[in-house]
Symmetry: D3
Subunit: 69 residues, 6 copies
Amino acid sequence: MELSARNQLPASVKDVRMGEVMAQVVLELAGGGELVAAITRDSAERLGLQPGKRVLAVVKATEVMVALP
Amino acid sequence: MELSARNQLPASVKDVRMGEVMAQVVLELAGGGELVAAITRDSAERLGLQPGKRVLAVVKATEVMVALP
Amino acid sequence: MELSARNQLPASVKDVRMGEVMAQVVLELAGGGELVAAITRDSAERLGLQPGKRVLAVVKATEVMVALP
Amino acid sequence: MELSARNQLPASVKDVRMGEVMAQVVLELAGGGELVAAITRDSAERLGLQPGKRVLAVVKATEVMVALP
Amino acid sequence: MELSARNQLPASVKDVRMGEVMAQVVLELAGGGELVAAITRDSAERLGLQPGKRVLAVVKATEVMVALP
Amino acid sequence: MELSARNQLPASVKDVRMGEVMAQVVLELAGGGELVAAITRDSAERLGLQPGKRVLAVVKATEVMVALP
């Protein structure tokens, strides 16, 4: 599958916390730094996410904000 | 300002393309890799975004997806 | 690529309108009905979107609202 | 109420799972196929969502991605 | 139509700027303050948005961030 | 930090409900009216959100919809 969302950053799963409906997935970016994803628990289970697993963090361009430090 | 969105990645502006309403900002992440942001043209102008400027890429956790490569 | 966003609806491109930064893509769902996507022009070009092309409409679960008619 | 979000697909509720804060609502589209929505539990309760209920799935155009299969 | 998005703030249109694909709509909240919406140009035209028109600003709860000033 | 998201409304926290992964934060806008935010529980804890706390509600322009009442 080739996706319109161009923002695809290589990462590995650092931590997964499961709620009843949502799951919080902490990702360690290959380039350094962390990214937190809140996805449905069903999706986290279907993808078999667990610490160490290599994944991509995907973000639609319209969801990225820019800030001055 | 301290923001609930924890995802804040250091980056520098690589390219800005202005449309009538929206602007596309290509960011070069400090850790490597690119991220594209689609924000309003007004915001891009207000922040004075131009190539080389150091910024943060900010993303709300609920907007991050995870994919298996 | 296997994506956490489970919402993937088969569709065909009905119309593409290019702006300077964004593109509007009208999709005809295989099951009937239309869906409009606003993606970056760069993504629309990279995917080679044009009328008749078979695609998937992809939506993250946290972006879907529910309404009573 | 007439909404700027043009993407409104007729559906019926197939399943609702309640968490403490969020609810996962599985929708069966009238045209075929499923769509999963993650909305607040409060909203799911306020709308009285339960299996069989006829609803609309609503998505803002900027939230729809396009993928090549 | 009753919508799962509970966030519906009374406002009036202050300004509309049309691009090829997107429109920027500046809203003046009844309670004071401004809110900027980026919606498709088609939606802005279909709703007949123009200065002075009374509308609702609608936001899904998962899209609202919180910041400390 | 100066953010591209121009939509920043002064508010005070009215209620916080914690789930395992997500938190629902009810905000009372300074100008009147309520806004509900669904953010990660981690962010709600990190910001020390509790009733009475003065905050900003922040929303990206691409996430704001417009409706006719």
